[in-house]
Subunit: 103 residues, 4 copies
Amino acid sequence: MDATSTECHTTHGYISDKDRYLARLKRIEGQARGIHRMIDEEQYCIDILTQISALTSALRNVGLGLLDEHMKHCVVDAAKLGGDAAEAKLQEASEAIARLVRS
Amino acid sequence: MDATSTECHTTHGYISDKDRYLARLKRIEGQARGIHRMIDEEQYCIDILTQISALTSALRNVGLGLLDEHMKHCVVDAAKLGGDAAEAKLQEASEAIARLVRS
Amino acid sequence: MDATSTECHTTHGYISDKDRYLARLKRIEGQARGIHRMIDEEQYCIDILTQISALTSALRNVGLGLLDEHMKHCVVDAAKLGGDAAEAKLQEASEAIARLVRS
Amino acid sequence: MDATSTECHTTHGYISDKDRYLARLKRIEGQARGIHRMIDEEQYCIDILTQISALTSALRNVGLGLLDEHMKHCVVDAAKLGGDAAEAKLQEASEAIARLVRS
């Protein structure tokens, strides 16, 4: 994380929606705790799998939301500046997308 | 959840590995809490996305592990009994797999 | 592929739906050819990506369908026989599911 | 597809790698034909599923490659121009990413 990226996330980005993202993560943490309890209580596997699928979807959606914010702010700003910094930013975003698609 | 499924998960299944699964879920809960903190501290989006991808993979692996246990125990037992119960069990497993693949 | 698996797929399985699967694969092949043409004609990236997502979903659905058939026939038959053969069959199905989930 | 998008893909983009993409799509079409033949010859389900997973991965990689090209060219150009067109371009890219992640 270099100076550019630091500047990027402090002046722009997901801050506007920060409370909503924090609430979503709280819910995700609660879902993980719920799955822990289901296993501890030896609930039915299929019911646990349903909760795991729901949690995976919730996480994906948070990831897609953050990526959208990142592109609309950090990537656009970098693109305007152009040069190597822009290229590095785009490369970094592409790699994050690939990780998300493959995870 | 009917009588068969109740019997299934109490007499068989992931119990042998229960402690390991509980530990994995604790870790997943911790990862969710870590992502919450990263957003709260307004850390760099790409770093958060990397953690989200890691958490998604961890969840998928727990899901695949539980599914494997389920098939090796509940599905096999139901298959031996045959009839409608076996068919219902297989159908249920197929639907859980589809949800996992699509989540 | 051993004797058991050969026996399995010739006496059971997706044969009943074979024509439907063949038609779906023909369509998938056509979709791949369509994407080739879109790239050749230098059509808009986003439109090509939409077609790639559609083709990926179509493939996943064929995979899930075949897996369902496999479990309802080969896996059930192996489970009834029991022993090492049943265990190997289940292990093999689990690994195929994991590949499908991760692909 | 409006004037902007038309201009985008004709002046920039994946053209440089066009031959490589066309070759990859030819290979994907061949893989689809191979799976058709495996079903027709009633080959073992698990072997067919392995080929389906391989084809899905190949498609994903083409999608990620095209998306990368799109962002490095069309999105960057739109970002420089700014305004509504830039915003629309980013929105469109985000939606394509979401479809890819969810497919």
